[in-house]
């Protein structure tokens, strides 16, 4: 109603109209204010200031000096560690934890959905549990599991089987650190996104399946592609976003497992630890925020890709 009116009004009138609407709905602004203030300070603020600082040279003592694209040029030309270790590691890690983790979540949710009704809950609980144990627990649990002496479980098992002759320092070994990081992250990644997939699958209309059967869809795989997936696109999008976040969040897992930053031989160095290394150890804050900025841009592009594939189009 008011939309039609605003289209006919001249600009001044439109501004006035909006102002009137804003005054009328003051209560809404009061209600969103507490969240929005915190949101702006602790989420929008850091992103914007990272954007600005990434074009400067800043060491936290002297005021920042504008240096144009220098940080980005340095990133691509001078930072050998970034090019040689961090980017390949991060890409490999992201591909395994992101898409493969996502596929795993989807597969498990689908299987649980096929399980007898009373069995679903225990499985959900068991598979979700590790994500509760995230953070500090990861190092408590896994450091000992991969412990470097004979008392480490993995070493003990492999020694008994005769696969290895001497205990291996798993988390200090440059060949093993990255695979271990992936394994541990996958283990703890069955969180909110996984639950969302499961809930979405549960909620697909039974009638659709029956209709599908009449139309000749018989194999469970066809059912999955023609009925289940199209009906749960929104949940799939949500959990895809969660998968991206998870892949980013776990960036410092290598440091947690190996107990040092930089990780041994940069084997587990992900972009996250690289940023912290530059920011908090070398105090090159301008360069570190430039890295953050690139990370944010990549994340944003990835999520746009997900929205593109899984977003619900108009009229769907």
């Amino acid at each position: 109603m008011s939309v039609q009116k605003t289209q006919q009004l001249p600009l001044g009138g439109r501004v006035k109209d909006t102002w009137r609407q804003m005054k009328e709905s003051w209560i809404a602004y009061v209600l969103i204010a507490p969240f929005m203030i915190c949101f702006c300070i602790f989420i929008v603020g850091p992103v914007l200031s990272a954007t600005v600082l990434s074009f400067t040279s800043y060491d936290s003592i002297q005021p920042p000096v504008f240096t144009g694209l220098n940080n980005f040029i340095k990133m691509f030309t001078k930072d050998v560690v970034l090019m040689k270790f961090v980017i390949p590691n991060t890409l490999l890690f992201a591909v395994v934890v992101g898409p493969i983790g996502y596929a795993l979540q989807f597969g498990l949710a689908w299987m649980i959905n096929k399980a007898p009704r009373k069995m679903k809950k225990p499985y959900i609980m068991a598979i979700y549990a590790p994500s509760i144990a995230g953070g500090v627990l990861i190092s408590v649990v896994w450091q000992v599991f991969f412990s470097s002496d004979r008392l480490g479980y993995l070493n003990d098992i492999l020694l008994n089987l005769g696969v290895i002759n001497t205990p291996v320092a798993w988390t200090q070994d440059k060949n093993w650190l990255l695979p271990i990081m992936m394994l541990v992250t996958l283990w703890s990644s069955m969180g909110v996104g996984f639950l969302s997939l499961f809930a979405g699958m549960q909620n697909v209309d039974e009638q659709l399946y029956e209709a599908g059967k009449i139309d000749g869809i018989q194999s469970p795989l066809l059912e999955l592609f023609y009925i289940t997936i199209p009906s749960m696109k929104p949940q799939m999008l949500f959990s895809a976003v969660m998968a991206i976040v998870n892949a980013l969040k776990s960036g410092s897992i290598g440091v947690q497992l190996s107990g040092q930053n930089p990780t041994p031989n940069y084997a587990g160095q992900l972009i996250q630890s690289h940023i912290e290394d530059y920011g908090f150890a070398r105090f090159e804050l301008g360069y570190a925020t430039a890295l953050s900025f690139m990370l944010l841009v990549v994340t944003y592009i990835l999520s746009r890709v997900c929205f593109r594939f899984l977003g619900t189009k108009e009229g769907e």
Binding site: Y29, M111, P116, M119, Y153, E276, S292
Partner: protein, 307 residues
């Protein structure tokens, strides 16, 4: 305590019924279902294994922790480890109880405030109309993929410039804006018919009253889900302790636990049991909350989709 006792017997029976059901359904299931069940059971065991392991280690006496070959299950459970890490903390400058107090205070305040903020904000986005609504909500949806880890440095600079370093506020404020909370509650609230609010408005109720006595009871499952997420977010978070606080007496439990693990070298092996005990202590509240609220969590996730 009372609930624990009254639940104990039904749980056993439940377990037995569950097992019977399992065997029954295995006998009558198709081959594909059996394969799926076996696979799921293996995965479930793998994912539970490390947690069971922490629980076992927490109750192992010293000689069992260092027996060779290592034993997985505990034989003579003891509480020794729990008293141990409390003494371990006594050796450092701050007693264990201080970390616990800090953690509990910070977690309670932050979780409560984050829920209230999310609820109010979600109500405005779901049931009210105001200029800028669409754009702001889109911003929140984009922020779902925001991870604080990405901008750790500028976040530090902002906390620093707010002059809240080394106070409780440094633990609390950064966690209050929870885009996921607003998003989940809003999506859930969209299902509550607007006619309910209209009716209340005609009866003369104001927005705050409608939110409190009509909407909130209707979206309790979503509130439960956000409680789980907000709680996990704060309780296990170590960044606020390592970056935003300086003095030992302002740090929280995760920091303490990780300071136990970081010394997990040959010299401080004696802490192995204590670390597991402390880890178990960190894990327990998460488990209890999830076990209690898991139904509302799954209910909420049905509406979690992004359209």
């Amino acid at each position: 305590m009372q609930t624990m006792q009254t639940r104990k017997i039904p749980f056993r029976r439940k377990l037995r019924l569950g097992l019977n059901h399992f065997v029954y359904s295995l006998r009558h299931a198709r081959l594909s279902t059996v394969i799926i069940l076996i696979f799921l059971t293996v995965i479930a065991l793998i994912s539970l294994l490390p947690i069971v392991y922490v629980i076992c280690n927490a109750f192992k006496p010293l000689e069992e922790l260092f027996v060779y070959p290592p034993q997985f299950f505990v034989r003579n459970p003891t509480m020794q480890n729990f008293t141990d890490f409390m003494y371990a903390a006594d050796v450092s400058t701050v007693p264990f109880s201080r970390y616990l107090f800090n953690s509990v205070t910070v977690t309670l305040v932050t979780t409560a405030l984050a829920i209230v903020f999310s609820l109010c904000c979600a109500y405005a986005f779901s049931k009210l109309k105001f200029p800028g609504q669409k754009g702001l909500f889109q911003m929140i949806t984009v922020a779902l993929m925001f991870s604080p880890e990405a901008v750790v440095i500028t976040r530090y600079l902002i906390v620093n410039s707010l002059n809240i370093i080394d106070t409780f506020w440094a633990h609390i404020l950064p966690h209050l804006a929870l885009p996921m909370g607003v998003f989940l509650i809003k999506q859930f609230m969209d299902q509550v018919p607007g006619s309910l609010c209209e009716a209340a408005k005609i009866d003369g109720a104001n927005e705050i009253r409608i939110l409190w006595s009509i909407i909130t009871p209707a979206v309790l499952p979503a509130v439960g889900a956000v409680l789980i997420i907000a709680f996990q977010n704060v309780w296990g978070d170590m960044t606020t302790s390592t970056l935003y606080t300086v003095s030992e007496s302002m740090k929280t439990l995760p920091y303490f636990v990780s300071s136990l693990t970081s010394g997990l070298t040959a010299s401080s092996v004696a802490r192995k049991g204590a670390t597991a005990a402390a880890g178990l202590l960190m894990l327990l509240p998460n488990f209890i909350i999830f076990a209690v609220l898991q139904k509302s969590m799954i209910e909420t996730m049905v509406t979690s989709g992004i359209k």
